[in-house]
């Protein structure tokens, strides 16, 4: 009798701690999975980029729309998508905005320089140097089972182009002379 009274709370505690452990392990794992999915979406160009207004010299101002089941993941991915979009996608103009073609427009450059871009776009990678989110511009819309998050990002395109020129991925205006 007295033994049952001791074992029951002990078992309950054990089960509780075990569940807590499983939850603790699953939360980062699912966050990791979502981040992985977000990176995959970036690679597959599953984001939208448009002109965000007239920027100061040396920068582009772009509005990027990112999709994720978690709004915070999408928000984090905005900077990466903005840089990715400026490099590989370009964007259209209109309403006082000038359209820009992608910095890298050689077909297959993405696979040719895969190693460089894998490290460049890795989480915490070099891409961070070239983009910053303009404060107070983030907006979020629930679309079906996921969020569509829009941020206005300033991309330091002159510095980015110089980095790509130094890596031999794009040609400079004076190359060949």
């Amino acid at each position: 009798m007295w033994r049952n009274n001791i074992v029951k709370p002990y078992m309950f505690m054990k089960k509780f701690l075990l569940s807590l452990l499983v939850v603790a392990l699953c939360v980062p794992a699912s966050a990791g999975l979502r981040q992985k999915q977000a990176n995959k979406d970036t690679e597959n160009f599953r984001y939208e980029i448009e002109c965000g207004g007239n920027a100061i010299q040396g920068t582009y101002l772009v509005k990027v729309w990112t999709y994720s089941k978690k709004a915070s993941v999408a928000e984090n991915q905005c900077r990466k998508n903005a840089v990715h979009g400026v490099i590989f996608k370009g964007y259209g103009g209109g309403q006082g905005c000038v359209s820009q073609r992608p910095m890298v427009n050689t077909p297959g450059a993405e696979t040719q320089f895969k190693e460089y871009f894998d490290s460049f776009f890795a989480d915490g990678g070099e891409f961070q140097k070239y983009a910053s989110i303009i404060g107070g511009t983030t907006e979020s819309v629930k679309v079906g089972r996921e969020y569509k998050v829009g941020c206005t990002v300033s991309v330091r395109k002159d510095d980015l182009r110089k980095a790509l020129e130094a890596a031999g991925i794009v040609r400079g205006l004076n190359s060949g002379f």
């Binding site: 010299q57 006082g96 905005c97 040609r171 205006l173 060949g176």
Partner: protein, 316 residues
């Protein structure tokens, strides 16, 4: 000894490389339409009609916006290691040359029928002219700016590419600020087009046009159908062009006994010594070839800007 040869070889490689890396010269010029609509022109009588000729000097002296635009473009191009030639300095040099030409009118006066743009391009020896124009548009209290920057090959006057657009409407921004914004926003697209042109030029050479004419009743007694070893002169010129153009690229849209027009003639950008070649230099090489044995044909070479030359056969 081995080191000596190695140094010599490296110096030679460096010399060849330096001959290849000459950059094309660029210069910004306000477009004719901008100059005329802003009143910077002079009227000239030409064959009974009055033509409006842009006055670059007046525009530079009186329009602050133009100076600002040129300075901004220069800044952006210098950032890409492509500084522009100064229009202001070129206009000064041109005035100096005109004064000298006036002193030697009999030699040069009547031969050079060039537009001010051709004159500026030739004086500056620039390869590409960047023609700039803008217009302020008012929409009630708001105003915006329409902007065009067009690159033209100074040799052929053909358009290389342009960047244009109308900026966002603004209540408060100053015209100069709007102009600066337009230049900055359009620059990347413009540079991309320039780059495409440079790549093409490096691959298939520079384009010029060449006209061959014959002095009537000339002392040498030749025309383009005169035969040398059974070959007509026009075919001899064709063969020379085949050898001396890049990849044998040229076309001859018209030929008769007195005239032959060669267009889309692709000449090398630089000669074997690394000096830039223009239509004049290329035409002179052909004239020299025809002056030698067995042809012995004297000729006169006339310059029409950087990209067009006329050789008149039969007399000097």
């Amino acid at each position: 000894m081995k080191r000596y040869f190695l140094t010599l070889a490296l110096a030679l490689v460096a010399l060849i490389a330096s001959a290849q890396i000459k950059k094309p010269e660029l210069m910004v010029i306000p477009s004719d339409v901008w100059c005329i609509s802003n009143g910077y022109y002079t009227e000239v009588e030409n064959l009974g009609t009055t033509v409006k000729v842009p006055n670059y000097k007046q525009a530079l002296q009186e329009n602050m916006g133009l100076k600002l635009a040129i300075a901004k473009l220069n800044d952006l191009m210098a950032e890409r290691q492509f500084p522009l030639q100064s229009l202001e300095q070129t206009v000064k040099n041109l005035e100096q040359r005109r004064m000298e030409d006036n002193l030697t009118t009999s030699k040069a006066g009547n031969e050079l029928a060039e537009s001010p743009l051709d004159e500026v391009a030739r004086t500056a020896k620039c390869d590409i002219i960047l023609e700039l124009s803008w217009e302020v548009k008012d929409f009630g209290p708001k105003h915006s700016i329409s902007y065009i920057l067009e690159a033209r090959d100074a040799y052929t006057a053909k358009s290389i590419g342009a960047a244009s657009g109308t900026g966002a409407q603004s209540f408060s921004a100053d015209v100069d600020v709007l102009l600066e914004e337009a230049i900055v926003a359009n620059m990347d697209n413009f540079v991309n087009r320039l780059m495409d042109h440079f790549q093409e030029m490096q691959t298939i050479g520079r384009e010029i046009s060449l006209d061959i004419k014959v002095f009537a009743d000339n002392a040498a007694g030749v025309d383009l159908e005169t035969e040398f070893d059974g070959e007509e002169l026009v075919d001899i010129i064709n063969n020379w062009l085949q050898v001396n153009t890049v990849q044998g690229r040229f076309s001859m849209p018209y030929a008769s006994e007195n005239i032959a027009n060669f267009t889309q003639v692709r000449i090398p950008v630089y000669d074997e010594r690394g000096r830039a070649i223009d239509a004049n230099g290329f035409a002179k090489s052909l004239a020299k070839y025809l002056k030698k044995e067995p042809y012995n044909i004297p000729s006169k070479v006339l310059v029409k800007g950087l990209g067009r030359a006329v050789i008149i056969l039969g007399e000097k």
